[in-house]
């Protein structure tokens, strides 16, 4: 039987229905559940800032910083959050250039996730430097003694990479939002109309605006594409440029980029599986989109599997006893639980996604996404902490003793990220109205006349 299947990437709604459904998510009164969620996130954010205040007053010694582990939970969490950001830009920019149609329904939420994740990540190096009020010393600014930062240091590359990433990804998000905010403006009244009117920057959808906008969006995507690949490479060089066993690896850049995208897609799944239900947009983000997200997870998870295997192989093949001991202790040393959590949660759990049934079952996908989040935090913990805990001389080996200040900042970072995301999805279009409309064929008079 020849059945012409409906292309699942093309939405089934009309243009008017798209506007109505997305604007509804903003104009609808927030439920009690929303207030509870936002309240929890606000509370965790408060925890973050109170702890930060304590760190400012009493110093970084409050956290579990002790030689040899002078990079610990904060740097682990920094890499974790920067990594989360990468999936968003991959989906919004790289898949845009690839003309991958499934990205349209999910890209706005992932891009918002990117901006908020990088905003969260950017807190950590500042917390970590100890004298937080002097953070501007990182920037090359003219000063009395004409001292400049060391441009040969990977840590300074990181300052440039992260601040560029934060600026460009927020710009990309805001540029994409302008036509959608204009659509919201035209559907609300009173002070909201004024507010969205200001934010829409006078957008009317006139041809003279689209002409420049569509072209510029393409170039922005083209600029974001190498940026995604570069930022986590630069983060990886923070480690790889040093000579610490376990850090000094040439595979670090691609290994980190794959891991970043993997963790980011994991976070996307954790966020949008409940979100589409809460906002009742199940008809816009469908099984088809989740299937594709899961395939992306499977691909990056498999690259990660290969990278893990290769790391152990290179450690053995290098013949360097320091490298070999580090890797032996990753699996069987005092941090064995972290080492195995990383391998099981990332390399093995992702392989379940070969099964279509698992890919399209949202409950299983959600559970897997939680494993990914946990596994990817542990991956960074293993790389940062367990490599530092056993470097060259056994005399200098040590273990980490995290304190409440470590855990409160970690928990608080989820609150800070969650609060921004929660406020965003209730006040801005979480699905890109204009891009969805671009995919729906406009009605035609002639086709209609010919008998529909």
């Amino acid at each position: 039987m020849a059945v012409i299947a409906h292309d699942p990437s093309v939405p089934t709604q009309t243009h008017a229905e798209v506007t109505r459904d997305v604007v509804r998510t903003i104009t609808e009164k927030p439920t009690r559940g929303y207030y509870i969620l936002a309240g929890t996130m606000a509370f965790l954010t408060l925890v973050l800032f109170v702890t930060l205040g304590a760190l400012l007053k009493y110093g970084i010694g409050l956290a579990g910083y002790a030689p040899p582990i002078m990079w610990s939970v904060y740097i682990t969490t920094f890499v974790f959050w920067v990594g989360i950001g990468h999936a968003g830009t991959l989906i919004s920019a790289i898949l845009f250039l690839f003309r991958s149609r499934w990205r349209t329904a999910v890209y706005r939420s992932t891009e918002a996730m990117t901006v908020f994740a990088v905003m969260t990540a950017a807190l950590f190096p500042i917390i970590h430097i100890g004298r937080q009020w002097l953070f501007y010393w990182l920037l090359p600014y003219p000063n009395q003694r004409f001292l400049w930062p060391n441009f040969k240091s990977p840590l300074l590359w990181d300052v440039f990479a992260i601040s560029t990433y934060l600026t460009v990804s927020s710009t990309f998000l805001m540029v994409g939002l302008v036509p959608d905010i204009a659509a919201v403006r035209d559907h609300v009244s009173g002070w909201k109309k004024k507010l969205y009117g200001m934010l829409s920057l006078g957008w009317t959808g006139a041809d003279s605006q689209w002409r420049h906008y569509s072209r510029a969006y393409l170039y922005l995507a083209a600029l974001c594409t190498p940026l995604v690949l570069s930022v986590h490479s630069v983060v990886s060089w923070d480690f790889a440029m040093s000579i610490v066993p376990g850090w000094h690896g040439t595979i670090f850049a691609p290994y980190f980029v794959a891991g970043a995208i993997y963790s980011g897609v994991g976070m996307v799944l954790t966020l949008i599986i409940p979100l589409r239900k809460m906002l009742r947009i199940e008809h816009m983000i469908t099984e088809y989109h989740f299937d594709n997200l899961a395939k992306l997870t499977l691909l990056t998870g498999s690259i990660l599997f290969y990278a893990y295997a290769m790391e152990y192989f290179v450690a053995w093949y290098s013949g360097s006893p320091y490298e070999q001991v580090t890797f032996w202790r990753r699996a069987f040393g005092p941090n064995w639980w972290a080492g195995w959590s990383m391998i099981i949660c990332n390399a093995f759990v992702s392989q379940l996604l070969w099964f279509r049934k698992i890919r399209t079952n949202l409950t299983s996908l959600f559970v897997i996404s939680i494993f990914i989040n946990i596994g990817m935090w542990f991956e960074r913990y293993v790389i940062v902490v367990s490599s530092l805990s056993n470097d060259y001389v056994p005399y200098a080996w040590g273990t980490i003793n995290p304190t409440w200040a470590d855990w409160c900042i970690l928990a608080g970072s989820f609150g800070w990220f969650g609060l921004w995301f929660t406020l965003f999805y209730k006040n801005f279009p979480i699905v890109a109205i204009q891009e969805i409309k671009e995919m729906i064929p406009m009605p035609r008079r002639r086709a209609a006349a010919g008998g529909h």
Binding site: T14, H15, A16, T19, P140, F146, L147, W148, P149, N150, F151, K152, W157, F160, A161, S163, T164, T167, V168, T171, F172, V175, P179, A182, A183, R185, D186, H187, L201, T204, G205, A206, D207, S208, Q209, W210, R211, H212, Y213, S214, R215, A216, Y219, L220, L223, C224, P226, L227, S230, V234, Q434, E435, K437, E438, M442, P443, R444, R445, R446, A448
Partner: protein
Amino acid sequence: MATSMSGVLGSFDHIDAACDAIRELKATGHKDLTVYSAAPNHELEAAIGDPVSPVRLFTLIGGLTGCAAGFGVAIWMSRDWPLLVGGKPIAAIPPYVVIGFELTILIGALSTVAGIIILSMMKSLKGRPYDPRFSDDRIGVFVPCRADQIVGVETLMTQYGSVEVSRDA
């Protein structure tokens, strides 16, 4: 000076009807049309027939400026306070590629956004009528014209399938 322009605003439900009307309006010598749509559309673009946006020049110039600035800042600052480490060059190019690259992207992206704003502002839309339904599912075509042309344009719009025609005088 009048706050609104004199002209005719037609709304269309169908893309082919709107394109036909735009082509006909252009053929009959009407210039400076404004076409509103909720999403960019290639058929509309072709009917309007404007050349490719020059916004790419902003991207190019911004990107090159960023690249030069990145390398320039790193090289100049290294030489301004020379610190010899391990016999390596004072201004080393490979590590500065990262700085040059990041600033290429940063300034390139920001100047692209400035490009959208500047280029869009070059054509003022002040006084041109707008209907909130244009951000929904309607296509709007506004033709600025003299009072004696209004009836002719209205007839043309209706003939080509405009579902709503209004005049702004």
